[in-house]
Every structure is written in structure tokens, then in C-alpha cells.
Amino acid sequence: MAALVELRGVVKHFPVARSLGEIVRGKRPAVRALDGVSFDVGSGDAVAIVGESGCGKTTLGRLMLKLAEPTGGSIAFDGVALGGLSGDGLRDFRRQAQLVFQNPFDALNPRFTIYRAVAEPLVNARIDKAEHKDRIEKAFRRVHLADFDRYFDKYPHQLSGGQLQRVVLARALVLAPRFLVADEPVSMLDVSVRAGILTLMREIREAMGLTAVYISHDLALVRYLCDRTLVMYLGRIVEDGPTEAIVRRPRHPYTRALVAAVPVPDADQSRIALPIKGNIPDSSEPPSGCHFRDRCPLAFARCAEEAPALREAAGGHRVACHLELA
């Protein structure tokens, strides 16, 4: 299937404040949120990006929606490079690519009624006002807020988290986009409403044929929603493959640790416990070579010298590790 989103060698650095010594020596320290990320998202696919806090997954999502500009590399949507978009081209892109936020309590303007919040994309896309009500009602039906009249005149603080996330989803769907990025869509919600939102998202994706990228730290969620998973560590993709294969037979030492950390109800499932040491290092000064080497129990000399490339491995995986984890 043709790729809808293509990322090639995407780099994103955030400059940090310099000390006097660094200014004198001409150094420009930066947080390296993304350090050469390349992958494709096929049209109609559901792809997950997983990793710890600070690994760059949220930055990646923001870049794919042109909410930030990459420091290097390129991102294309439907064959058009995002870097050069402005004016009508950008407006067209905004119609097609939408975001679902982590925190629904902050994602809606507190001074906007629910109706107005969901109408905002239509206003910005310059859609005739006569069509608004119809489209908004349709979006509300899609997110199972069928009694929409009850919500239209309310303000965000009058709704519950689950309802708010449905409204946020309705806002994202009101323009009938092709591409949806969901950044930790349920992590701020009560456990009791998570399942409902997740089921809803899967249902909507299948019904509308959406291409979706889910950003999460939760492998259980990813397993439910996505066919393919990318594992990130300190700004790089360390493993890429079918979700089931990644969960069942993780190849990269980091993925193994990640999988081992997920509580599973099935005690018989085989797990390769691989303890990792310490915390995620400072992303302004990552270790040389493989970023994971100082925490990896299997690291050897070559890991410090050379960054492993993402290579094909058995089972349709791509793994960035010098070890042959067959």
C-alpha cells in the first residue's frame, strides 16, 4: 500500500540556554529530541510509537502535523513535503491531518461552548456556515454522543473526562480527515472509561478508513489498536515490526525490557526478563554509538563506536542492534 506519511532522516534539536563558557567556546548545546528517524506510514495503517517519557515520541507526532519544524530531514504527506507548505496548501493539510490530545481537560478552550469548539475546524477550513450543524451532528454521532443537543451549549468544565475526550475526537473528525495522530489518548482518563474510548477509536478508524499514529507508553493499548509498532529510545527507532511479533518476540534488548515491564494476566506467556540499569540519560548528551549502550546488559565494545542501523531481521522486524538476536 502506498505510503501516506514518509519521514526521511528527521532530526529535531531544541536549543537550550548556553552558559558563558559554552558561548565563549562556540558550543551550541541542544536537546536531541529526534536523531535521524525514517519510516513510512502506509495509507490505512494503524501504527504505534512506543517509548519512555523523553524518547521523542511526542515531538515526532508534532512534526508529523507540522506543529513544529524539523531541524533536519524531511517529512512528506501524500507525496507533498510539509516543509514548504503555507497558505492554501497548509490549510488543505490541516483539513486532512488531525490530532487527539493526551489531556482532554486542557484541549478545549474553557471559554468556548462545546458546539463552538467543534465548529472551530469548520470555521478555519472556511466551510459554509449552513453546513456546520449537519457536520457537527454527524461527528457527534460518530463518537457516540448521540444526544448532542445536551452538549452543544455546555462548557468544557461541565463535562467528564470521557465525554471531553469524545468531544475532542469529534472535533478531530468533523473535517473528515485522512490522518489522525493520537498522543496518549487515554492516559489522563479514568481506567473505567479507557476501554470505551479505545474501542471507539478503533471503530472509527475502521469505519472511516483513517490512517492513524498512536503515541503511547502502554504496550497493552498498542496491542489492541495497532498492527505495527515502532519502539523509540532517545530519539531513535530501535525496533519496528508487527505489533504481535514485537510483543511476543521482542528482539532489541530495550524492547525486551519494555515488554517485560508490562503486567500480563497470562502467567504462562514466556518472557525474557532482561534487567536494564539506571535511567534514561540526558538527551543533550546521549552516549556515543548506540544510545542504549550504557543501560544495556548485553553491550560490548562495538556499541560505543558505531550507532547500529535499523536492519531487517527475522519475522518482518527491523532492529537497530549490533547483536544478532535471532
Partner: protein, 296 residues
């Protein structure tokens, strides 16, 4: 864009309108403003005598330094002018100076703060350095020099106050914009395709509007004090009667040493009342803006 004004602003306006009912201080402050506003509007009815008219007694003598009486509730000045009439008419110039300065200060401060805070970078640096320069000017000397150059008129005093006070509101509003623009709903507006100006004026501005009101109320007090100070020092508008002018007149004609309290105490009390009223109102709006302050 018509729908914008219909649905979002009422919440701000409603909160602003209902505030005095919830906060007793704000209620007192607003009452004082209403009373002064009525006095200013009805000045010609309340005091038909022109405030600078020189009065004579029935025997043809100058009616100078008369003690308070039924005809002249606060007595007369040493030039035979009715102090009561001056006090009533002084309300007009006080409110004119205060309100026009408040409008200029809060609108300039709001726009500068919004633009500097939202766009950041060089625009921000430039605007904030200009603000720093304005803040570094000594207050009264600047007003005196400016009125000296441009002429001692009420509008020049308003101009001077506006030039000196906008940076305070601009800075605070800028800092508030810096926090509001990081809110998720601002990013959400960008994803849905809102332009920068739309985000700034539709999504950010309504959330900082109460702060503009706080600074407007503070500016009223400052402008009136400044006008009074400048007039007291003798640099005021000689054509119009203000409370500061009355104090200066009383001071220079030794009303204080003669114990003519009815001449200089009432304008002093009026200045205090209107400045305190502005403070009370701004305090109330501060609580609307920062609900966490409520009840402390």
C-alpha cells in the same frame, strides 16, 4: 466572525458584570465610581455657580475667605470663589483624566502584551526594551517636562500618564500570554487550522481580558493622582478646575496656616476616595481572574 462575539465574550462580560455583587469591596468601589459619575454628569445642576466666578457680598465687598454657610457649604477662597462649586466641577476633570488614561493604558498595554507574548523573538525583545525605557523614566519629572513642552492641558497629562503606565500592564499581560499560549487548546486551535491572529485574538485574548480590566482600574487612580500632583505643583491646566488645582490654590494662599479646613480637606478626601475605589475594583477583578485568591 459574528458568531465569535456572540458566544465567547458573554462569559467574560458576565463574569465582569456580576463581580461587584460577589465582592463587597468591589461593590463599595463601584458605588463610589457611580456616585462620582453622577456628580460629574449633574455638575451644572448641583452647582450652578461657575467655579471660577468671583463673588461679592451684598455690601459690594469681595466675598473672600468666607466660612462655610448655607450659601457656600465649604466657604469661599481668598479670591471669593465658591469652594463647593469647585469641588463639584473638579469631579469632571478627575473622571475625564482617569477614564481616558485608563482606556489608553489598558488598550496599549493589552495589544503590546499580546503581540510580545504570543510572537516572542525579536518583536518581544524590541517591545520589552521600549517598555523598560519607559519604566526607567522618573514619573513626576517626566510629566512636568512633557507638559512643559507640549503645554499644560488635560490631554497632555493623559498622554504623559499613558506613556508611563502602559509598560506595567503590557508586561503582566505578556507573562500571562506566555502561559496561555502553552495551553493545549491553543495548540488544538493551530491543528484545526486557525491563523496566528485568530489564535491571538479569539483564543488567547479573551483569557487575559480580566487582567486588562485590573490595569485599567489601577490606571484611573494613578492618572487622577498624577493630575492632582502636577496641578498642585502648578503645572496643571489653568483653564479647568481640578482637585489638585484646589489644593494648590489653598496651599499658595496659606489656607493651611489660617486653618481653612473646608477648603483643602474635601478635595483631599475626594482624591483618596476615587483612588481607593479604583483599587477596590481592581482587587475584585483580580479575584475573578485568579479564583485561587478568593477567600484569602
Amino acid at each position: 466572525m459574528a458568531g465569535v462575539a456572540e458566544t465567547a465574550t458573554p462569559t467574560v462580560l458576565q463574569r465582569i458584570a456580576s463581580m461587584p455583587l460577589r465582592d463587597p469591596f468591589a461593590f463599595v468601589g463601584l458605588s463610589i465610581y457611580v456616585i462620582f459619575a453622577l456628580i460629574a454628569l449633574l455638575a451644572d445642576v448641583l452647582a450652578p455657580m461657575p467655579p471660577l466666578e468671583i463673588l461679592f457680598t451684598s455690601t459690594g465687598k469681595l466675598a473672600a475667605n468666607l466660612p462655610p454657610s448655607l450659601d457656600y457649604p465649604f466657604g469661599t477662597t481668598n479670591l471669593g470663589r465658591d469652594i463647593y462649586a469647585q469641588l463639584i466641577h473638579g469631579t469632571r476633570s478627575a473622571l475625564a483624566v482617569g477614564l481616558s488614561a485608563a482606556i489608553v493604558v489598558s488598550s496599549v498595554g493589552t495589544v503590546v502584551g499580546l503581540v510580545a507574548g504570543y510572537f516572542g523573538g525579536r518583536i518581544d525583545s524590541l517591545l520589552m526594551r521600549i517598555a523598560d525605557m519607559a519604566l526607567s523614566l522618573p514619573f513626576l519629572p517626566f510629566v512636568i517636562v512633557l507638559t512643559g513642552f507640549l503645554g499644560a492641558s488635560t490631554s497632555n497629562i493623559v498622554l504623559a500618564v499613558a506613556l508611563l503606565l502602559w509598560p506595567n500592564s503590557a508586561r503582566v499581560i505578556r507573562s500571562q500570554v506566555l502561559t496561555v499560549r502553552e495551553r493545549t487548546y491553543v495548540e488544538a486551535a493551530r491543528v484545526t487550522g486557525a491563523s496566528s491572529w485568530r489564535i491571538l485574538f479569539v483564543h488567547v485574548a479573551p483569557n487575559i481580558l480580566p487582567l486588562s480590566f485590573v490595569y485599567a482600574a489601577i490606571a484611573i487612580g494613578w492618572a487622577i493622582i498624577t493630575e492632582a500632583s502636577v496641578s498642585f505643583l502648578g503645572f496643571g491646566d489653568s483653564e479647568s478646575v481640578s482637585w489638585g488645582y484646589m489644593l494648590q490654590d489653598a496651599f499658595s494662599s496659606q489656607a493651611l496656616s489660617r486653618g481653612q479646613y473646608a477648603w483643602f480637606v474635601p478635595p483631599g478626601i475626594c482624591i483618596i476616595l476615587i483612588v481607593v475605589a479604583g483599587f477596590f475594583i481592581s482587587r475584585g477583578y483580580e479575584e475573578v481572574f485568579m479564583p485561587r485568591l478568593r477567600g484569602r
